[in-house]
């Protein structure tokens, strides 16, 4: 018994150290297609490759002669890793983060300027406002959704975020984030605070704005780790909360809850995912080719069909997922100065974490 265990342990150790020492190629690395000499191997950092999106992209890119390696992390982690590795970048391309994160990366000099071949097909103002360092690929509205069963008619439901904390009937019936690590929560905060911009105010926001945020968190029910908003709607704990477009449909199915998204007059924050070239990459030429391929109409349309998103590439719209396009277009885009948000967001989050959460 003992000797068996010893043998197995020894064998395992030898195997493992051998594996580590030789640094043998992983099956993942060998997974690409077209093992010809023309294969372009790239490291891509992204927060938008979970849920099967990365596997699909790997396969499609393989056909086009790219061998992709993803580092798949949350938005904040991607930003922090890119910042930390600045002196010696591992990533060649990064995509999926929103404009705020990309604006940060640009300011910290992490990105290299590049104008993709499809630059003329997208609304440049949705990307880098003052240069050529990041370009929009996908638009997604950040919404306030409510459980239809909770209100007798749509008129009874909230019609905009401020209703939640200004009208008594919604108090303690909507979910607020328990922390501000997630991009959706940050977008909602940016959408609220942008309404109260005051350059003489605290962190660029008037006192009324901070009071509104305080009330928003005070009257809400904090999210519970590991319990989805839709699960709490299903059990009647809350009636409303934040959700992004692609998440709504699948959750309605999973939890058998019918929800409606609010269409405020002022509009909703549009998250625009961007793509950019990492400064200092040793494979700049291949990375540029990949960006050209990835943002092209064909690939963006296929991506849209597969994952219910709305592409920014005008030529892709015709073949894109019609439901995703019409859903996205049903929302007015809130006029948000993203440079202003990018400049202050980190400080806003800190202030909310310290002063308003759990109050």
């Amino acid at each position: 018994m003992k000797s068996v265990r010893k043998t197995i342990t020894a064998a395992a150790t030898v195997l493992v150290t051998g594996l580590m020492a030789t640094g043998c190629t992983s099956p993942v690395a060998a997974g690409g297609q077209g093992g010809t000499g023309s294969t372009k191997s790239l490291v891509v950092y992204s927060n938008s490759v979970s849920d099967g999106r990365g596997d699909w992209l790997k396969k499609e890119a393989g056909k086009a002669g790219f061998k992709l390696q993803f580092v798949d992390l949350g938005g904040g982690d991607i930003r922090n890793r890119l910042l930390a590795e600045q002196a010696n970048p591992i990533a060649d391309v990064t995509f999926g983060l929103n404009n705020v994160y990309f604006e940060n990366l640009k300011k910290e000099d992490v990105l290299a300027p590049y104008t993709p071949s499809w630059a003329g097909k997208v609304d440049a103002s949705a990307g880098d406002p003052t240069g050529k360092e990041y370009w929009p690929i996908v638009r997604e509205p950040v919404m306030l959704v409510y459980d239809k069963a909770a209100y007798s008619s749509p008129a009874q439901a909230p019609s905009d975020w401020p209703d939640l904390w200004t009208e008594k009937q919604f108090a303690k019936r909507y979910e607020v984030p328990a922390d501000l690590g997630g991009a959706t929560a940050q977008m909602v905060l940016a959408g609220i605070l942008s309404r109260y911009r005051d350059d003489k105010g605290d962190l660029g926001v008037s006192k009324a704005g901070w009071d509104a945020v305080k009330a928003y968190f005070h009257d809400g029910v904090p999210a519970v780790a590991d319990t989805d908003l839709y699960a709490r709607m299903a059990s009647r704990k809350v009636d409303a909360g934040q959700m992004w477009l692609a998440g709504k449909a699948t959750r309605e199915q999973q939890y058998k809850v019918t929800t409606e998204a609010v269409h405020p007059k002022i509009g909703v924050p549009m998250t625009v995912q961007q793509v950019g070239l990492v400064k200092g990459t040793k494979k700049a030429a291949d990375a540029k080719k990949f960006i050209d391929w990835f943002g092209s109409a064909t690939v963006q349309a296929a991506w849209s069909k597969q994952f219910h998103t709305m592409p920014t590439n005008k030529d892709a719209l015709a073949q894109a997922d019609p439901a995703a396009v019409s859903d996205t277009n049903s929302f007015t885009e809130q006029d948000i100065d993203w440079s202003f948000v990018a400049e202050h967001l980190d400080q806003w989050i800190e202030k909310v974490e310290l002063d308003y959460l759990g109050s």
Binding site: P27, V43, L73
Partner: protein
């Protein structure tokens, strides 16, 4: 320089190894963290007290800190009480079904974190089994009864006894049965024997696990987040959020250093209490502990009932995790299982994912290598620290606790920032993008706990054994290998297994340091369950938890194998051919009890 330091400098082995150790401490514990802290606190060359004023003026920060300390203090009591009880119930008293009990209590060794908490919410939460029974029996019961500090303390107590189960058990093996017999013949009551004979031997280990428990309470994350409710939030979630925002890292570092300092204060208090005591029982012919019958029938019944009630409390949550891992998200949320709720889809999704097996291999490789390196390193270091107490060694010991002083997110960032450019201290190479950097970070992270447990183990070894070996002409190395090592090996094995299991699904360190081609399992799990995609992934979390339980369980079996038996079949030390004296051998470390020389000099 005192005598002990001079003696230390006479041994060439200690000198060379010591120099290497000092280099490691400087290069990977001190220097990167200094670089990082400078970047955080002195971005423009001037120190500001902003962090302190911001934190002090925040009600939430003060409240969360207070809760963290309250929790740490409460757990130091409750975990010790329950932990000592389960160890005595399985190893000291003769209870019926002790082995089964041990298996139930050992479930904490193979799962933890958020998943463990969800296991408990399946029982006590709003839709939990027990809650539904309560509501049916007493219709007035609030279904949300299980929240706030009592709930957090209960869950963290039951999930926090792993250290006790492993380390106290091996310490109990060092109790000399003859001293117990002598005490019995002198008419001491069982209670008195426990207090005056058994407990003193357990003391160093008890102190060490108390420090770990206290630290675990201070840095509690999952349980308060899920069941703490609005009124009982702790500081760690805040630290993690701030660590992720470049401009707020000074807050994260300040809070973390505060927690680390508190832990070090407790450590030095306990060290002082421990100093000068004798923690082993000395008799001419030490003999292994035999389990005690409880003669008083009432006491026996009470202990049995308690032991089995705890057994159920331990066993049901992990069982429910396994059950619910075969259902979908809405079933998990509602807690109502029907025959139609069961599905294999989650497992299919995880297991058919071509890329799922590779991260597991990578994790196993990293965890194996780093756990081995840590234990080898610390076996030596703890021995030196124990044998040559001097201001120098005390300073090194404090430096080795740096990983407890800072959140791993920040230390990982420190490593990248420091070693993404060529540095003289590592021979002018760049370490980012290599496989080594993550291994170094893993090793560093596990140094403090390993050191604490091994120091406690060495403290429980009588000096006379070493003296005897020296008198018989054994060299320092031989003495270590044949006399000391076998005695601390059970602890070493236990701590290695724990290290291995906790590294298997690490995320905080891997997220920044993993090589793109060699990403460990923690990242895969986090991505599958991050909820940034379209579908809700609650069920996948449970599937990964079950898979991890299986791997961890396997590791525990490797380490403990049949050692989990509760002393029914004690192997006798086998004299080895070619050796006249029956020195203990590694193979005989049944519970540490049989690993003692049967002949004294």
């Amino acid at each position: 320089m005192n005598r002990s330091a001079r003696r230390m400098l006479r041994s060439p082995l200690v000198l060379v190894a010591g120099a290497l150790l000092l280099w490691f401490v400087f290069a990977f514990l001190v220097f990167p963290n200094l670089v990082m802290l400078r970047e955080i606190f002195l971005p423009d060359g001037s120190f500001s007290t902003r962090a302190f004023t911001e934190l002090w003026s925040s009600d939430r920060a003060r409240e969360s800190l207070r809760n963290s300390f309250l929790l740490a203090a409460a757990l130091s009591v409750t975990v010790n009480a329950v932990g000592v009880f389960i160890v005595l119930a399985t190893r000291y008293f003769a209870l019926r079904g002790a082995r089964l009990l041990w298996l139930g209590y050992a479930t904490t060794l193979v799962y933890g974190g958020v998943v463990a908490v969800s296991g408990y919410t399946f029982v006590y939460g709003e839709h939990g089994l027990l809650t539904r029974l309560l509501v049916d029996a007493f219709p007035g019961t609030d279904p949300a009864w299980f929240s706030g500090m009592p709930a957090v303390v209960m869950v963290m107590t039951l999930t926090g006894t792993s250290y006790h189960l492993l380390f106290l058990t091996s310490a109990l093996g060092r109790v000399d049965h003859q001293t117990i017999e002598a005490a019995q013949q002198l008419g001491a009551s069982p209670w008195r024997i426990l207090r005056r004979v058994v407990l003193p031997v357990l003391k160093p280990t008890l102190f060490a696990v108390t420090v770990l428990t206290f630290l675990g309470g201070l840095t509690a994350f999952a349980a308060p987040q899920v069941i703490g409710g609005r009124d009982f939030q702790t500081i760690t979630p805040m630290i993690l959020t701030f660590a992720g925002i470049p401009s707020s890292r000074d807050l994260a570092a300040t809070l973390a250093v505060l927690l680390g300092a508190a832990t070090l204060v407790l450590l030095s208090v306990l060290n002082r209490m421990q100093a000068g005591g004798t923690y082993f029982s000395v008799s001419k012919v030490p003999s292994a502990l035999r389990r005690q019958r409880i003669t008083n029938p009432v006491a026996g019944a009470v202990v049995h009932v308690l032991a089995y009630a705890l057994f159920a409390a331990y066993l049901v949550p992990p069982l429910l995790i396994v059950v619910f891992s075969f259902t979908g998200a809405s079933t998990i949320a509602s807690g109502r299982i029907t025959t139609s709720s069961f599905t294999l889809a989650n497992y299919r999704q995880v297991l058919t994912d071509a890329t799922a097996s590779w991260p597991l291999l990578v994790s196993i490789a990293y965890a194996t290598v780093t756990a081995t390196v840590v234990i080898a390193l610390m076996l030596f270091v703890a021995r030196v620290l124990h044998k040559y107490p001097s201001p120098v060694t005390a300073a090194v010991e404090h430096l080795l606790h740096i990983p407890w002083m800072l959140p791993s997110t920040l230390t990982a960032l420190g490593l990248i920032i420091t070693y993404s450019e060529p540095r003289t201290v590592v021979g002018g190479t760049v370490l980012t993008g290599t496989l080594v950097l993550l291994a170094i970070a893993y090793v560093s992270a596990k140094i403090p706990i390993t050191l604490r447990m091994l120091k406690a183990a060495y403290a429980g070894v009588p000096d006379s054994l070493e003296e005897a070996a020296t008198l018989l002409g054994a060299g320092a190395w031989h003495t270590f290998r044949r006399v000391l090592l076998p005695l601390v090996l059970p602890t070493a094995a236990a701590v290695s297994a724990l290290n291995f299991n906790s590294l298997l699904d690490d995320y905080d360190i891997s997220v920044f340091l993993a090589h793109p081609l060699y990403q460990p399992l923690g990242i895969t799990i986090q991505n599958a369950t991050r909820n940034e995609g379209t579908s809700d992934s609650t069920a996948l979390t449970l599937v990964y938890a079950v898979l991890l339980m299986a791997v961890s369980g396997l590791v525990m079996w490797f380490v403990y194998g049949r050692r989990a038996d509760t002393g029914h079949r004690r192997r006798r030390p086998r004299p080895r051919p070619g050796h006249e004296h029956t020195a203990p051998t590694a193979a005989d470390t049944d519970t540490g009890a049989s690993a003692r020389p049967t002949r004294t000099v």
